[in-house]
Symmetry: C2
Subunit: 351 residues, 2 copies
């Protein structure tokens, strides 16, 4: 591993300590989509480079993330990548359409299509992501941990089946309810690829991982238990020992205990739950979250008031990583994002 | 009131008994969007009549609903209408665009715009909705209660501000967080109009009401308490005594207790919560819900299994109205919907 020269700086960073529920001098913070359209430097690059090309350009992907980390002063980096990259080697026809987001031109609707999907060997077909990990790790300050990530099996499956984002997830649920064997095969295929993919990122130099189950909140607890939990658990169980994993989803208010059961040293909370109430329910585990991103549209004093409300709920406990409840939006202000990071550092160091 | 000749048939209907948490011979059921695109008779009419025209044609609106009630055999009707009709007399430029849904061409983004909105006198500007209530009540079987409805203040405000449906509700939250006085004025204006509007529907012959806070699940509990609860409560407190009100929202897992505090004899549950768990948390109140609409894409045996799972959770309690967790989708099968209604009647009469 690349960081062998500086093991203590990373291991002893506030972010890694919080992942392990150890005391920290201040609350570590990073923000989902911290490298993205809200930042002029990013928009300038994206005018010249399409999204997929950027994900496949290790040097540029590293630069984009490091620029963001330095500009806003967060405590962790995450690789610049996308949860759907794993779909191309499976045989999915993925395209990022301007102003529309990802589209899969051959959505999965039948058992036959699932049988024709290819098993993914990330070392071969996703090695460009490992290059992004390596180059980001190499260029990043030696005390800033790097987070690798993947989509969780449900969220990845729902994109494959719907062909893009969805309002009601009707095709996904139809397959799930009507063809449970096909669902099983699809989820098994994704899970096995995802575990290898995440471990490959750890081997390439990532200190922590995040599993994004962004759309799982469309399910009832009993559906989650039956159709999702075993697969997510199989991914997390396969992660190499000693690498903390953040298990994140949105709309998961009723799924939190089940997500903890599936695994992850840190549970990611969205903004729909009160942090303290959710953490009390979860018990002994670290948590990440959970400021409503839209608070960043308010003025500075309101942002501080609401960030303080979250910090106040963590008093007396170790293991809180500050983050938004979902990603930064393109129209947000870089100055306000940076001010939030500063405020969290200052305010939490007083606690 | 029109139903004075047959007060007992309505008062003693299974639906009204369940609203009052009284024992019933079987579980009453109706379904959100039970008159809609999934039904050929409806599609045939809509080929000739635009949506807004249909809402304003009392005879046709009544026919559409009664056709649906008779075809699928539900225990309650709801007026054929829309939660956004209240916006036209306020001064909003509302259009229903084919395949896109409602659009407001003059979305509210400033205090000045709010000051220029008009107070609504429903007796004058929404009398066509009361005509729909009267004609539906007159044509409906005398033992089938009729539900009137309105959008809850938050959901109506979010449409006004976003100009249509939204993913992140960023404009709504920006106004809420940045201009709380403007938010207060807007919510007060909507609340006062909504209370009059709902009471007008009761006076025209509706036996029960539903308040749709469809999008309120994008808020945290503390935001709900501060920015929504007082206004929803003011609407519900103003409803004429003796008319049960169903207080419905989606994504409300963490808001249920606060919704109960705001009011409503029946709390509507979406499919993201386990019914029993939610009802236990709510305590003494009736509940409505909560089958995932997408279950209707599965085969008959799976639909029955999942309907039974819901009925089983209501054993030993009075006050359950069966419904979906959200509306019927256009591509669903009328036969399966009718079969669900039959199954709920038969299965629950055995309990």
């Amino acid at each position: 591993m690349i960081e062998t020269e500086t093991p203590n700086l990373l291991y002893d960073s506030m972010f890694m300590k919080a992942c392990r529920c150890e005391p920290t001098d201040y609350t570590p913070i990073w923000l989902m989509r911290q490298a993205g359209r809200y930042m002029k430097e990013y928009r300038d690059i994206r005018e010249k480079v399409p999204f997929l090309d950027l994900c496949k350009n290790a040097q540029l992907a590293a630069e984009v993330m490091i620029t963001a980390v330095e500009r806003i002063g967060v405590d962790a980096a995450i690789i610049f990548s996308d949860i759907l990259l794993i779909l191309q080697p499976m045989g999915m026809d993925l395209e990022y359409i301007k102003n529309e987001g990802p589209v899969l031109h051959n959505p999965i609707r039948s058992f036959d299509q699932i049988r024709n999907l290819r098993e993914v060997d990330p070392a071969e077909s996703l090695s460009f992501v490992f290059d992004v990990v390596r180059s980001t790790r190499a260029m990043l300050q030696p005390d800033i941990p790097l987070i690798g990530f993947a989509g969780a099996p449900f969220t990845v499956a729902s994109y494959m089946i719907e062909g893009g984002s969805s309002k009601n997830y009707e095709n996904t649920k139809t397959l799930m309810y009507s063809e449970p064997r096909a669902w099983h095969d699809l989820m098994s295929l994704i899970s096995s690829a995802t575990a290898k993919y995440l471990n490959g990122q750890v081997n390439a130099g990532a200190q922590a991982l995040q599993l994004f189950d962004s759309w799982v909140g469309c399910l009832s607890p009993s559906d989650y238990r039956e159709f999702v939990l075993p697969y997510t658990k199989s991914v997390i169980d396969a992660i190499v020992d000693g690498t903390p994993l953040i298990h994140f989803g949105t709309g998961t208010a009723m799924l939190l205990e089940l997500m903890k059961e599936a695994g992850g040293q840190i549970i990611g909370l969205d903004f729909r739950v009160e942090l303290k109430q959710a953490w009390d329910r979860l018990g002994q585990v670290a948590v990440q979250g959970n400021l409503d991103p839209c608070v960043l549209y308010a003025d500075y004093s309101e942002i501080e008031k609401r960030a303080k409300h979250i910090l106040d709920q963590t008093k007396g406990r170790n293991g809180h990583i500050f983050n938004l409840g979902h990603g930064i939006l393109p129209t947000m202000s870089v100055d306000k994002v940076a001010a939030l990071v500063d405020y969290v550092h200052n305010q939490s160091s007083k606690l």
